[in-house]
């Protein structure tokens, strides 16, 4: 092989290597960027946002279901753990799920697995201690793999007649920072 050809081969290989590295970095960043954008667009952190029933005008999250009411709490654990409380809807499918900054779904519980009438969740990150939970209701500690993420409630509108009750129940869901939790030693 001539020296010139060898040089060409070297630069072609270098170009492919650059392309590969860019590809892998883009692939790694993409879900994180999509998540950060979604969290920003969903509204203030550590606050519950109850959405309207999705229509063609709903353009924040892709592929929303028009048969579901969603409530969202974008969270940021930098100022302490997050406490989430909500009534459980037992008349149709209801679930509460949690997603980390990487878009992974790290927790989900539905109404059939939650016999109680209400649920309390405390979301903590690594090294964060959690406050005492209210013993009266169904409760869980969630360990978030990332500082930011999303709590998402889904409630199926199985019958138009049930819509006002489902909407009212979702509006009772709350989330907020628990500032008083002590640090783990």
């Amino acid at each position: 092989m001539s020296e010139r050809a060898q040089e060409w081969l070297f630069w072609i290989a270098a170009t492919i290597l650059v392309a590969l590295v860019v590809h892998l970095v883009a692939l790694y960043l993409l879900p994180r960027v999509v998540m950060m954008r979604a969290l920003d667009r969903l509204g203030a952190a550590n606050t519950m946002h109850v959405g309207k029933r999705p229509t063609a005008a709903a353009r924040v999250i892709v592929r929303p279901s028009p048969d579901i009411l969603y409530a969202t709490c974008p969270y940021d654990l930098s100022k302490g753990p997050l406490r989430v409380t909500a009534p459980v809807i037992h008349t149709s499918y209801w679930s509460v799920s949690a997603f980390d900054a990487n878009t992974d779904n790290f927790f989900v519980k539905n109404d059939q697995k939650t016999p109680a009438d209400s649920v309390e969740l405390v979301v903590v990150k690594r090294g964060q201690a959690w406050p005492k939970l209210d013993a009266a209701i169904e409760r869980a500690i969630l360990f978030s793999p990332s500082e930011k993420g999303l709590i998402l409630f889904r409630a199926v509108i199985d019958d138009e007649k049930h819509l006002p009750a489902i909407d009212a129940a979702l509006h009772q869901a709350r989330c907020g920072t628990v500032a008083s939790a002590p640090k783990l030693r």
């Binding site: 630069w11 270098a14 170009t15 492919i16 290597l17 650059v18 392309a19 590969l20 590295v21 860019v22 590809h23 892998l24 970095v25 883009a26 692939l27 790694y28 993409l30 879900p31 999509v34 998540m35 979604a38 999705p54 229509t55 063609a56 005008a57 709903a58 353009r59 999250i61 892709v62 592929r63 929303p64 279901s65 028009p66 048969d67 149709s92 499918y93 679930s95 799920s97 997603f99 990487n102 878009t103 992974d104 779904n105 790290f106 989900v108 539905n110 059939q112 999303l150 998402l152 199926v156 199985d158 019958d159």
Partner: protein, 193 residues
């Protein structure tokens, strides 16, 4: 100088090439580790921490906040049973019986992954809203200019490419174990203008 130009060339060609490759693998193809059941495709790992970087990126773009498959199975069809791309001008039928799940719905989405605007705000049919035959089966009309009859559920699908998502909430244990072998409604093309 000569080497500097070559390094610049490597970057100028390599960076767009890497970005283009990312775009191709995330915008085309299934959700990764996907299985097909007729025209319906579903990912086995969507939403779960087991998903590979490719699946995760695709789900972030086309199915953000999807639940894992024990909770919800999401089947998406972009083609009819004969393999032709779904087109809103044409009339299709989703025919069958209730799949094994606690609750199901079929929803149409435009090419942009959002609901398709229509005057009646008709976007979906579900286990509890679908109009049924006397024997309990259903035939949901999808696409076309108007509803075929008042006795049939109809989902308008715009005037371009679209896709359908079949959601199964709390799928039966048989379904969650083997999503490729589930009994799902058929998706047939009826007519094209």
């Amino acid at each position: 100088m000569h080497v500097a130009v070559k390094i610049l060339g490597t970057i100028v060609v390599g960076v767009p090439l890497g970005l283009a490759a990312t775009w191709v693998v995330t915008s085309r193809g299934g959700m990764g580790d996907s299985v097909a059941d007729g025209p319906w495709k579903t990912s086995l790992v969507a939403g779960s921490p087991q998903s590979d970087p490719y699946t995760r990126a695709r789900v972030a773009l086309h199915g953000l906040f999807a639940l894992n498959r024990n909770e919800t199975l999401y089947y998406t069809a972009t083609e009819d049973s004969s393999g032709a791309k779904l087109d809103g001008h044409c009339r299709y039928e989703v025919v069958g019986r209730d799949p094994s799940a606690r609750w199901w719905s079929v929803t149409a989405y435009g090419d942009d992954d959002y609901l398709i605007s229509n005057p009646g705000n008709l976007y979906s049919a579900s286990q509890t809203s679908v109009l049924r035959q006397k024997d309990g089966s259903f035939a949901i009309a999808v696409g076309g200019a108007q509803a075929p009859s008042a006795k049939t559920s109809w989902i308008p699908a715009g005037t371009g490419a679209f896709s359908l998502t079949l959601r199964l909430y709390n799928p039966g244990p048989d379904m969650a174990l083997d999503p490729a072998d589930a009994v799902l409604p058929a998706l047939k093309k009826v007519s094209c203008p």
